[in-house]
C-alpha cells in the first residue's frame, strides 16, 4: 500500500468489511481418513487447490495440491490424508476485519486461509486473495451506485445555508465557428454539476439541453455566453448569442426544420432536432430572437422533477 497520508476508500473498506462478508462459505472439506490417492480427483473435480481437513466438525488440518505433489514425487505407498496434512493451520476468525486477512496473506504468503468461528472454533469458510479483491470490488460498486442514486449533496449543502434566496452561478464563453472546442462548455458544466452531487438524470437533461444550445451558437452565431443559475428548486440555463437571429421562431421549433449549410450537416449536426431536444429536456423554455441582433434562449429544469427522463 502507498504511504500516502490520506486514507483511500479501499483502506477504509478493509477496516470496515469483515472476513465473513467476503469468504467462501460453501467449503469442500476432506476427512483425515480419506486416502491420498483420492485427493487428486477431489481437487480436480471441485477445481480447488487445497481443502481443510475436518474431523467430527473440528478443524484437524489443511491439505494442498503441494502436499499431494510432494507425496506423489516421493513414490510412497497410499496413506490417509492425516499423515500428510499440515496440522498447524493458520486461521482467521470470521468476525475479524479484512485488514487482518490482508496482513496475514502478506506475512505468510499462503494461497488461502481457513476461517473459523471465534467462539466454537468450528469451520466457517475459506478465504483467498481473489475473494478479498472480489469483495472489495462489489462493495465499491454498491457504494458507487448509492452515490449515484441517493446522495444529492447539493440539497444538503443548500439546507445548511441560511438565506432568503440561494443561487450558484456559472458562466461559460462560447467562441463562434470553433468546432475544435465545440461541446466544451456543456462538458465542463456537466462535470461541475456532477461535483455538486445533483441527480444524474437532472445533470443529463441540463447537459443535453446546454450542448444543443452551445452547438447552435457555434454553428450559426459568432459566439455567445452560457449563464447557469443553480437554485434548490431549479436550474436555469441562459444562452445568448450575437448571431443573425432566427427569422421564424415558430418554424425553427418544428422538428426537422433546419437552415444548416451542407458542411455542418455532413458532420452530423443541423438535423433540425436541436431545439426540439432542448424543449424535451426542459420543463420550461423561452426563445427570443431579434434579426441582426441575436438570440436569447432560457431553459428551466426543475430539480424536484429530477427523475423525468431526458428522452420523453
Amino acid at each position: 500500500m502507498k504511504s500516502d497520508s490520506r486514507i483511500s476508500k479501499v483502506q477504509e473498506l478493509v477496516y470496515e468489511i469483515r472476513v465473513r462478508d467476503v469468504m467462501e462459505d460453501n467449503v469442500v472439506t476432506v476427512s483425515p481418513q480419506t486416502p491420498m490417492s483420492q485427493l487428486q480427483d477431489i481437487l480436480r473435480e471441485k477445481r480447488i487447490s487445497g481443502a481443510p481437513v475436518v474431523d467430527k466438525d473440528k478443524l484437524a488440518g489443511i491439505i494442498s495440491l503441494d502436499d499431494f505433489i510432494r507425496w506423489l514425487a516421493g513414490r510412497q505407498d497410499d496413506c490417509p490424508i492425516s499423515e500428510k496434512m499440515t496440522r498447524d493451520v493458520k486461521t482467521l476468525y470470521a468476525d475479524e476485519p479484512l485488514i487482518h486477512a490482508v496482513n496475514k496473506f502478506e506475512k505468510h504468503g499462503f494461497g488461502r486461509f481457513v476461517v473459523i468461528d471465534r467462539q466454537d472454533k468450528r469451520l466457517r469458510g475459506i478465504i483467498t486473495k481473489g475473494d478479498i479483491i472480489e469483495g472489495l470490488l462489489k462493495k465499491l460498486e454498491i457504494d458507487y451506485h448509492k452515490e449515484e442514486t441517493q446522495s444529492e449533496r447539493i440539497q444538503r449543502f443548500f439546507e445548511d445555508i441560511y438565506a432568503d434566496r440561494i443561487a450558484l452561478f456559472f458562466q461559460y464563453e462560447v467562441a463562434g465557428k470553433d468546432f475544435k472546442r465545440a461541446g466544451e462548455s456543456s462538458s465542463r458544466l456537466k462535470a461541475t454539476l456532477g461535483r455538486l452531487g445533483l441527480h444524474p438524470q437532472v445533470i443529463r437533461r441540463v447537459a443535453i439541453a446546454t450542448y444543443e444550445a452551445e452547438m447552435n451558437v457555434i454553428i450559426y452565431a459568432d459566439g455567445g455566453k452560457i449563464r447557469v443559475r443553480v437554485e434548490p428548486h431549479e436550474i436555469l440555463v441562459k444562452v445568448e448569442d450575437r448571431g443573425p437571429g432566427i427569422p421564424d421562431v415558430e418554424k425553427a421549433l418544428q422538428p426537422g426544420y433546419s437552415t444548416a449549410p451542407d458542411w455542418v450537416r455532413e458532420l452530423g449536426f443541423g438535423a433540425g432536432m436541436g431545439l426540439n431536444n432542448i424543449s424535451n429536456c426542459a420543463d420550461r423554455m423561452n426563445l427570443r430572437s431579434t434579426l441582426g441582433k441575436g438570440t436569447h434562449l432560457s431553459i428551466h429544469i426543475f430539480v424536484e422533477d429530477g427523475v423525468k427522463s431526458e428522452t420523453n
Binding site: 456537466k190 452547438m215 449536426f269 438535423a271 432536432m273 424535451n280
Partner: protein, 113 residues
C-alpha cells in the same frame, strides 16, 4: 453482455480507453445524426456511427454511452482519440458496414428497444 465479449466475438479493434472494457452493454443505437443520438440513445448503449470527428465523444459521454463503433473501416481522427482517452470512452472500429454490424450485434442479443 460485457463490452469485452462483443469486441472478441465481432473482432473489433479498440482505438481508445483500452482499460475501460469491462462495462455492461445495455443495448444499442445506430445513427449519424448527433442530435438524434442525444435524444434517443440510452445510458449504457453502444453507438454505431460513421462520424469520426471529436464531437461524437462529447455526445457519447453526455449520454453515458458505453462505447462507439465506427463502421466501414473509418478511423477516428487523432483529436477524437485524444478526447476519448481523456473522457475514458471506448472507440472501436470495424470493416463491416452499419447494416451488417447491427445485424450481428442483434444476433448476440444487443437490442435497440
Amino acid at each position: 453482455m460485457k463490452l469485452t465479449e462483443l469486441i472478441e466475438k465481432l473482432n473489433l479493434d479498440v482505438r481508445s480507453a483500452k482499460a475501460n472494457l469491462d462495462r455492461e452493454v445495455t443495448g444499442g443505437y445506430a445513427s449519424d445524426l448527433l442530435s438524434d443520438v442525444l435524444a434517443h440513445s440510452k445510458e449504457g448503449n453502444i453507438w454505431v456511427t460513421l462520424q469520426v470527428h471529436h464531437n461524437i465523444v462529447a455526445v457519447a459521454s453526455m449520454k453515458d454511452l458505453v462505447g462507439i463503433i465506427l463502421v466501414s473501416g473509418r478511423e477516428p481522427e487523432q483529436e477524437t482519440i485524444d478526447k476519448a482517452e481523456k473522457e475514458n470512452l471506448v472507440i472501436m472500429v470495424t470493416e463491416m458496414p452499419t447494416f451488417e454490424l447491427v445485424g450481428r450485434l442483434y444476433n448476440l442479443g444487443v437490442t435497440g428497444m
